[in-house]
Every structure is written in structure tokens, then in C-alpha cells.
């Protein structure tokens, strides 16, 4: 007879958690928004240098990564449908595909950054500072910061999806309580959304 | 108060700025006093001892409109006066007397078109003076209160400020943007002289040659004092922004060049390099980018004098 006051009965409010997730997405949008402001101002001030530097980036890798992200966005969106149709196997499969695609994206990114490093281009590298124009330094500085931050979000998104996957497996996320999976999906789409803008702004300047 | 007293019309901007000031302050005082007294009066009149039952009033749309519209009009008037006092600061007339102002930690250097350099700003009276503001390191602020002008001096950009001094005399000049340790000492003075007097000063280059000095190292010391080395360096062994000069000559210094650490002896060549290209070798434990190159500001001869002085610091 000790503990009668049970604390807030664990009530489940999917609308609240969805709203919370959206609000968080807004802050993420403004986080990148800050960087987009910086980018656009510097591009406006150094149009030629940005074009020159943009040509150094590999459009093919960029395009492949875009498609990977788009496909993974679809698979995770489908996974909620699968969950709601009570098809647990398909849900799990779709989630695994999403995570694998995310990994492929990161591997690509790794090689892409690797080549840049190989060419002596990294933030603050002597080649960058000594041999390039100011606009190009800015371009690559922003390139590393923005794609780096985006990659960090991919990693966070992957963890988020993995947690959801685990919970789907255990059955605590199911057709009646899909919130966690839906939120993981929302987050993942955010990552996609940002890339949709990063890709043309960095890879498609000619 | 500057606003009211001795700086009346010290420059062409004073009246515009002060007008805006008085207008805003005037309106503000009326409101402040009026509202404060209303508040106190209500507190007295409707005290619960006198007025135990409140009358419930939930609002009034008429009043809301009134006290939205009136302040709006008032602030637009304030905006207008603010704008009117400021607009002329943005565009200098064509025919101006030009001076280049270089800010660095922690002094200003004024360069005139005939090559004259000073650390006090000399300007002719009743003539439009245009300043070209550049900074070598961080942002500084160029502020002459009596003239009501202020402009940040931003590295990487060339800024402009102009004014017509209208009063003879000495005026204060401050640095207003925080720029490191001696920010509050980065001031100087403006000397406004009537045109003939100014001209005499302007063409006279002889006066500036230094008076004879007794000891052989005093010239070095004087140069360093004038250009401001002691803002960052001491001679008594304490570390400020930069390393101390005590016993520096001939000592072994650990420096970093492009990230590699190595040891050198502080000789003439090293000191010269430290002055002309300080960011090439960074003394261990100090930051890059604080000391700026003095190329063009100190001649080879000056550096020799400085080295001679540094030698004497045992």
C-alpha cells in the first residue's frame, strides 16, 4: 500500500508526438536554413569562383546519391503502409533496405570526400588556402560543412530507423501504435528534403 | 552634456542628430511621466480600501484603435527624423580632403595624401573631410562623439565616413567595437585647425623629425612606443598577447612553421621576419593572426633600431 499515486498513466497520443516531430523538423530546417543563407550570400558575391569550384564535384556520384536517397525515402514511406496492413515481415524488409541504402550513401560520400582529400582539398588545407581564390575557399568550406552536417543527419536518421526496426520486431510498434515508425519516417524524409536542395546547389553549377 | 553644450555644431551632422534625439526624448518623457502618474493615481484612487468592489470592464475597441494609431504615427515621425539626420552621412560631397585611416590592435594611423602619417587626426575646419577606413586585423569602431559620426572599421572592406568640422579645437576619438585587450586605450584625438593653420602644418614636414636622443637604443624604443608594440609585448618578463621582449635577443625560441615545431635562435634575421611576416613562424603557445605584418609601416632602418633596442633588454 505504498505507492498509490501512479504517475501519468502512460497515455499514448500519436498526434502529440507527430506534432513534436514536426516542430523538431522545423528547427532542423532552420539549422540548415542558416547555412543556406550563408551559401546563397557567398554565391551571390562570388558567382564565378563558385562555378569553377562546382565543376570539381562529381555530378555522377551526386546523382547516384540523390537517387539512393529518393529510393530510401520511398521504402521507408512504404514501410508504414506495410505496418498498417499488419505485414510485419514486409515492414522489416523495407526498413532494412532503407538502412542499407543509407549506408551506401555514406560509403559514396566517404569515397567522394576521400578523392577531395587526395587532391589536397580539405577544410583549411594548404592547397586550398594557398592556390585557390577566396570564392573557392568559401565554396569548399561550405561544401564540407553542409554535406558533413547532412551526413551526420543521415547517421542520426539511421539510428532512429534502427530503433524503430527493433521495436517493430518486438511488436511494441505495431499497426495500432505506429507513431515511432512514422516519426522515423518523417525524420528520414527531412534528410531527403535537404539533399534535394544540396544536390543542385553544389553539384549542378555550370 | 554633449547633446546640449560645447559641441553644438562641431560638425555638420550635429544638428540633425540632436534634433532627432530631442524629439524622441521629448515624446518619451511626456508618455513616461503621463503614464507613471496615471498608474500611481489609479493605485491611489482605486485602492481596495477605497474601492472594495471592482467594476468589470473587459475592453474597448475604440481605445485599442486609438492607442494603436497614435503611437504608430508618433513612431513614424521619429523614424523620419532619424532618417533625415542620418541620410547625409551616407553620401560625401565630391570635393573632399581625403585621409586614410588604418585601424589595428590598438591604434589608429592616419595617412594624408601627401604621405604624412600621424597618430592624431588633423583636419582643416569648414572643409569636407573624407575618411577611408581600413582595418588590418579585427573589427574596430571609429567614433568621434563631438561630430556624431561612427562607423565600424571592418577588415577586408573599405569603409567611408565623412564630415565637415565646424569648430576649432581638440575632440575625443574612440574605438567602439570591442577589439581585444586594449580596446579602451585605442583612442586618439582630433585636432581641428582653421585652414591657414592647417595648411602650415600640412606642408611642414621638418617639424616631425625627432629631436636628438641621448642613448643609442632610445630611438628603437620610441619607434616601438609610437607604433604600439607595447600593447602586446612587455619588457619585464610578463606575457601579454605576445611573448615578452625580456632577454629575447639571442635566446632560443620554439616556433611552429606550417604546423612543424622547431627551435631557432632569435637573431637579427629572425626579429626582422617576426616583424615583417609574423604569421610565418608562430611562437609556441601563442596564436596566429594576432600580430599583423608591419611591412610598409616600419622601414629597414626602423627595424634595425628596434633590434638594437631589443638587444639591450637583458
Amino acid at each position: 500500500m505504498e505507492n498509490v499515486t501512479q504517475h501519468s498513466e502512460p497515455h499514448y497520443d500519436p498526434e502529440a508526438s507527430k506534432l513534436g516531430m514536426w516542430l523538431f523538423i522545423f528547427t532542423e530546417l532552420l539549422l540548415f536554413g542558416g547555412l543556406f543563407i550563408v551559401y546563397s550570400i557567398y554565391r551571390f558575391l562570388n558567382p564565378v569562383a563558385f562555378q569553377l569550384a562546382g565543376e570539381e564535384l562529381n555530378v555522377v556520384i551526386g546523382a547516384i546519391n540523390t537517387i539512393i536517397l529518393l529510393v530510401s525515402s520511398m521504402t521507408i514511406a512504404m514501410s508504414t503502409t506495410a505496418l498498417q496492413q499488419k505485414n510485419k515481415k514486409l515492414t522489416l524488409f523495407l526498413l532494412i533496405v532503407t538502412v542499407v541504402l543509407a549506408l551506401v550513401f555514406l560509403v559514396n560520400k566517404y569515397f567522394e570526400w576521400g578523392t577531395k582529400f587526395h587532391h589536397g582539398i580539405w577544410p583549411g588545407s594548404p592547397h586550398l588556402i594557398n592556390d585557390m581564390s577566396k570564392g573557392e575557399i568559401l565554396f569548399f568550406g561550405l561544401y564540407f560543412v553542409m554535406t558533413g552536417l547532412h551526413a551526420l543527419h543521415i547517421i542520426i536518421g539511421m539510428i532512429f530507423i534502427l530503433v524503430a526496426l527493433k521495436r517493430v520486431q518486438k511488436g511494441t510498434v505495431n499497426a495500432d501504435r505506429p507513431s515511432l515508425l512514422e516519426n522515423a519516417g518523417l525524420y528520414w524524409h527531412l534528410v531527403d528534403l535537404i539533399w534535394i536542395f544540396l544536390f543542385p546547389l553544389f553539384y549542378l553549377i555550370h | 552634456m554633449y547633446i546640449l553644450s560645447n559641441t553644438v555644431n562641431a560638425s555638420n551632422f550635429v544638428s540633425g542628430v540632436d534634433k532627432a534625439f530631442l524629439l524622441i526624448m521629448g515624446i518619451s518623457f511626456v508618455f513616461l511621466i503621463g503614464l507613471t502618474f496615471t498608474m500611481l493615481y489609479f493605485m491611489y484612487k482605486y485602492n481596495n480600501k477605497k474601492n472594495p468592489i471592482a467594476t468589470q470592464i473587459k475592453g474597448s475597441n475604440t481605445l485599442e484603435v486609438i492607442w494603436t494609431v497614435i503611437p504608430t504615427i508618433l513612431v513614424l515621425i521619429m523614424f523620419y527624423y532619424g532618417w533625415a539626420g542620418w541620410a547625409p552621412m551616407r553620401k560625401a560631397p565630391k570635393d573632399t580632403f581625403n585621409i586614410k585611416v588604418t585601424g589595428r590592435m590598438w591604434n589608429y594611423l592616419f595617412e594624408y595624401e601627401n604621405g604624412k602619417k600621424t597618430d592624431t587626426l588633423f583636419v582643416p575646419m569648414d572643409k569636407a573631410v573624407k575618411l577611408k577606413l581600413v582595418s588590418l586585423d579585427v573589427i574596430h569602431g571609429f567614433f568621434i562623439p563631438a561630430f556624431r559620426i561612427k562607423e565600424d572599421v571592418v577588415p577586408g572592406r573599405e569603409k567611408m565616413a565623412w564630415f565637415i568640422p565646424q569648430r576649432e579645437g581638440l575632440f575625443e576619438l574612440f574605438c567602439t567595437v570591442y577589439c581585444g585587450m586594449n580596446h579602451s586605450y585605442m583612442g586618439s584625438t582630433v585636432k581641428v585647425m582653421p585652414q591657414p593653420k592647417f595648411d602650415a602644418w600640412y606642408i611642414d614636414t621638418i617639424k616631425h623629425v625627432s629631436v636628438a636622443v641621448d642613448s643609442p637604443t632610445a630611438t628603437g624604443q620610441r619607434i616601438m612606443k609610437n607604433i604600439g608594440c607595447f600593447a602586446c609585448h612587455t619588457v619585464d618578463g610578463t606575457k601579454l598577447i605576445g611573448p615578452t621582449f625580456k632577454g629575447i635577443y639571442g635566446s632560443k625560441v620554439v616556433i611552429q612553421t606550417n604546423g612543424q615545431e622547431h627551435e631557432v635562435t632569435a637573431d637579427d634575421a629572425y626579429i626582422k621576419r617576426s616583424i615583417y611576416d609574423p604569421n610565418a613562424d608562430i611562437v609556441k603557445g601563442f596564436n596566429k593572426g594576432l600580430m599583423q605584418p608591419y611591412t610598409g609601416l616600419l622601414s629597414e632602418g626602423d627595424v634595425q633600431q628596434i633590434t638594437a633596442y631589443l638587444k639591450s633588454l637583458k
Partner: protein, 537 residues
Amino acid sequence: MQTAVPILHEVSYLEYKGKYKGLFSWILSTDHKRIGLMYMYAMMTFFLIGVMLGLAMKLELIAPGRTIMGPQTYNALFTVHGVIMIFMIVIPGLPAVFGNFMLPIMIGAKDVAFPKLNLLSWYIYMTGSILVICSVLFGNGIPDTGWTFYAPYSFKTGTNLLPAIFGAFVLGFASILTGLNFIVTIHRMRCPGMTWLKMPLFAWSLYGTAWIQLLATPVVGITLVLVALERIFGIGVFDPALGGDPVLYQHLFWIYSHPAVYVMILPAMGAISEIIPTFSQKHIFGYKAIVASTIAIAFVGYFVWGHHMFTSGMSGTAQYTFSILTFIVAIPSAIKVFNWISTMHKGSINPDIPFLWAISFIFVFMIGGFSGLVLGALATNVYVHDTAFVVAHFHFIVFGGVGFAFFGAIHYWYPKMFGRMYDKAWAKIGWAFFFVGFLTLYSPMFYLGMMGMPRRYYDYLPEFHAANILSTLGSWVMAFGLLIIIINLFRSAKNGAIAPMNPWNGKTLEWTVPSPPPTENFEDIPVYGEKDGPYEY
């Protein structure tokens, strides 16, 4: 032992025994009231540090030249003072303490929407604060950039800036999460019948604030990350030597930091909007107008940041746009002041201590606001920008505004929070010293600014001496007042008279629960009928 059940339900949140004992029952509690108190204790501690630094600065400025410290120490002092006061006290201040404590009760909910997240925010807040303190204690030198971290000085200085920047970044996260929590709470957990327009004004102000926290904080977050990267790698974004533009840093910084000043003031205004009707025993005047002006301040306040940069070399177009927007954002504040004063009209005023704080708030807020108008006009801003005038403006409005509202709020809600009443006579004496000290401390700074004394100055001309002495004296009077207030509050938490449920005859929901409230706040969620409302006397 069946009979014990209803009694146990009434156990106050202070005595409630949960899974954990002692300290752990606090630091692991997800109860919004305990979290609110934990914020308050943490802030009090940091606040006292900040006050000490402020007093030390004033002591240094008592005479020109060196008095008790060197210039580098002084620079470090105002930096740490500014960072602590802004990022650790007044930005989270009212929302984290009173928002957490009162918001759920005021809207008739049992807790916030995400109680665990709420606790997490507190931990994030503590982490950030400790990082800031670390930057003082360890490394080579205390940060010395001013709380604005202006580039390029912020990546040139040799001092230990990284932990401070990182700390501010982390504190931003705590602020974002709190805001997020409040928005969801307000959207989803208002009690049945409480429509948006029946919500107490304090809750409205928190709603407006939360949106600013959400949308503005990330911008400064990323800006601080860029400064840190600039320091570590030299990526060049703000370094003029590498093509960057230091003025862009200022844009980004103020995109956050101007809205942040409204993050500070809105909840303060919200608290005042609660105190005034309660102590006038009258329905608030112009409820809808106050709601609208809250939203307007939050929204327009977003677009005026450039008024901090009038001398930085922006384009003329930007300058007058920002100036006019600055004036426009002053109007909703004016509307609020008029409505507050009208609420007193024909009321039945109980001039008790919270009310005294409220009217002194209005008084100093007006002075601060009017000096803001001087700063918002272009010509006068150019003259007084970066002088002691600005320092006076923001102390009047940040500290006079937010600080006074904080003290008003704590005297107002104290009986509810602790179930006891403080000693009113001492509270009034403390208030009197504080108020007089405040005016003596900061008024001379207006004068100094108009004379042209720049801010962040360790040393000054002899002409400025007299005003500085006065100001320093004021700082002691005020600190004395503060001491009385704090001691009074602390002692009363143990020894004060037991407070009734509704000592001020307030009408908002927090006055319908016992003092102190039970863990679950309400046994049954209240329901608002057609006629009910927060200010229906």
C-alpha cells in the same frame, strides 16, 4: 487501509515519495513542478556568479585607470557576465522556471506533453552551463570576446573560447526542446472547454516565446558551429583573409539574438498580465489585444535584427528597412502597456508586493523601451551605438524588465509553489532597496552614453568619473536589496506561515489546486464551461 487512498492523492509534489529517495527523487523526476524548481535552483546559483561579476566590473569602473584588475580580466568579466546572464539566466529564465511549473496547471493538464524530454532538457541545460563555466576554469585564459562572439576577433583571440561557444550551442538545444514541449502541450493538453481565447495570457506568452525559440535558436546554433569550425580548421566562412564576410556573422548572430530578447520579455509580460488583473480584482482589459500583440511581437521581432548593425556597413536600404521595422515592433509593446494600465482603472487594487513589482516593471520597462526608440532611429543610433547608452538600455529592459517580472512572479506564485507565505514587510524593504539601487546603478549610464563613453571600456576619461561613482554606489544598494529578497524567500520556504489555496483571489486554474500542488496537479481534469475563463471575477 482503504481510507488512506484519497489522502495520499493529496500528497504535495514536494513530499511525494516516488521510486527514488533524496536527491535522486529530484534529479530523476519527470514531474514538471520539480523540474521547474530544479531550473530555479540552478539558475539562482549561476545568477549569483553573474551578479558577482557585474559587481566586480562596477568596482573596477569606480575610478579611471587600474583599480582592482587588469584590462584582460575586465574583458573576461563582461564576456562571462554577458554569456551567463543572457544564455543561462534570462533566456531560459521565466519559461523554464515558471513555464514549467505553471503552464500545465494553468491549462488544466497533469504534466507537459513529453515529461521525459522535459527532464532531458534540464540535463542539457546543465551540461551547457557547466561547459560555459569550464571555459572559465580551464585552459589558457577566460574568453574575452563579449557575449556576441563577433568575428573575426572570436577566432583570433588566444583564449579558451571553444567551451563557451559549445556551451551556448548546447544551451540552445535545451531551449529548443523546452519550446517544443510547450507548443505540443498547449496544442494537445488544454482542458476541455478551454478554447484558445480562454487560455491565460501567461500561457499565450509562452506559446509565442516557444515559436521564437524553435525557429530562431537553430540559426545561432549553426553560426556558433561555424565559428568553432573556423577556429579549429580555418574554413574561411567569416574570415576576411579567406574571403568570408564578418558582417554576415553579425547578421546570423542577430537573426537569433534579437528574437531572443523577445524570448526574454514575452514571458515576463505574460507574468505581468497575470499579476495585474489579480491584484486589481478585475478582468484584464483588452484580452484579445494583448494576445494579438504577443503574436505580433513574436512575429515582427523576427525581422528587425539589423538594428544592432547600423554602423557595420549594411546597405542604406537595409538600414532604413530595419529602422522602420524596429519602430513597428515597439507598437505592440505600447498596446500592452496601455492595456495593463487600463486594467487598473476602476479596479479594486491590492497594493501588495507582487503588484509593486508589476508597476515598477512597467515603469522601468517604459524607460528601457523609450531608450530602445532612441536606438532604433538611425541618426541617434549612429551616435549612441556601442556606448554606455546601449548598456543602460538593455539593463533597464532586460534586467528591469525580465528581472523585475521574475521577482514579481516569484512573489506572486511563491505561496503556490512552496505552500508558505514569505514575510511581506521584508519583501517590501528588499523591493525598495532594489528599486532605488537599480535606478542609481543604471541611470548614470544613459548620461555616460550620451557623453560618448563607449561600452566594454576598462578605462575611461576623467570627465566620466562622477557618473561612474554614482553608478557603482547604486550597484551596492541594489545588491543589498537582492540579498534581503533572497534571504527572505529562502527562510520562508521553511518557516513561513502556511499559505492558503488562493491567497490573492486569482481566477486562473493554478489557484484551484492545493498549495503546494499534488504531484498530479488535478484529481479530475477541470472543465471550462461557457461562462468560465481565466479572468472572470
